[in-house]
Symmetry: C2
Subunit: 199 residues, 2 copies
DNA sequence: AAGATAATTTGCCTAGCGGTCAATTTTTTC
DNA sequence: GAAAAAATTGACCGCTAGGCAAATTATCTT
């Protein structure tokens, strides 16, 4: 009665194995070389890379050390190595949400982490809602005067000013001075954002 | 003769335990509740959080599932929850490197992932060097005309255009049209960059 | 093509640790 | 204070992580 496999385990093990093997091949190492370096037997390494064994953390730490990568990187979703996405000012697609005007500055999900956009905070809009999300956020004021509220702190930003803050602390944007504010906003989301929490 | 502990294991286990406990407390869950939900015994959970046991991957996957977080996040360095960093245009600190002029737009390392900067590509500079680094890169042209070379592809960007690419593919910036180019550049580095590889 | 050598995989085994139950201790509540 | 809830610990077992050595497959050499 092991209800363990809510996230099916085997495919994850296979993926892990593949990543490990790729790391090794990238370095042109043989199983023997790796075994000698880490003190782990060739046989076991082979089984790991085949996804036939479930490595203990100590093994994972050792391997991550040998490859000089973070353990977490062994579990991160594959980077789609799409080379480049260009978004032209001419083709801007403006979206509306919560009284703000958005223009995504990258076509979405080919890259995982960065989510850049151009945002227009319309004049006299009073930001009612406090935003809160995983990851970091950074913004840069192009034109206008921005009022940035972080939790209970207030900042006033001029064109050329930048702000960098933790997305988890409640924040809000509004314009001051009676004219629209144009900003560049870049969010950086972790690979697997925490969605609505608890039961 | 287990040469496993190159990266000392025990402290990592402790850290992991602390993270797990924090996740549980954040949700106001009791060991019993978590045990019931996951099918893992309270006793064992307690030991895990105390760092006294080395969880198997299947256990980790189950827990990550219960908390709805990525497994990798269990191994990532603590996010320093510093709330906000403001950089004023007035206080810009200009640095020079490789023929480019940099202005960091966030004061460094309090946040891990995002590294925003304003870059001036001086006129007629010929980007000789091809850059290559971990993580993603995104840029936005403020003024001037930029020539962006990604591997063997060439792109010409006008003010307002944006580009998003994988930092690992070799890339280079240069100016065209005989005038300086001002851009916003945001790099997104993974927590633990791969430093110089292999032996 | 066939030896020879390097590289990986597989059969088989077991020590040790992951994981549980039940009892004990600590913390909270009223 | 007692009583209930939450967390920890002792003692134990089964399973599997991981090693050894033989077998297989891939890579050279000539």
């Amino acid at each position: 009665m092991n209800s363990v496999n809510s996230t099916q385990l085997q495919p994850e093990l296979t993926k892990l194995g593949i990543r490990l093997r790729r790391l090794r091949h990238q370095r042109n190492w043989t199983l023997e070389a790796l075994a000698k370096q880490t003190g782990i037997s060739e046989a076991y390494l082979s089984r790991l890379e085949g996804g036939e064994r479930q490595p203990s953390l100590s093994i994972l730490f050792t391997l991550a050390g040998a490859y000089n990568v973070a353990i977490s990187s062994l579990f991160e979703p594959e980077q789609t190595a799409e080379s480049c996405v260009i978004v032209r000012a001419a083709n801007a697609v403006i979206q509306e949400g919560q009284g703000l005007l958005y223009t995504p500055l990258s076509s979405g999900n080919r890259f995982t982490s960065l989510h850049p956009m151009r945002v227009t905070v319309t004049a006299n809009r009073q930001g009612d809602h406090l935003y809160q999300h995983e990851g970091e956020e950074w913004l840069y004021v192009l034109t206008g005067q921005l009022q940035l509220t972080i939790e209970d702190e207030e900042y006033f930003l001029q064109p050329g000013d930048a702000a960098h803050f933790d997305g988890r602390t409640p924040h809000r944007l509004s314009s001051v001075g009676g004219s629209d504010v144009e900003i560049i906003l870049v969010a950086c989301a972790p690979p697997h954002p925490l969605r609505g929490s608890h039961s």
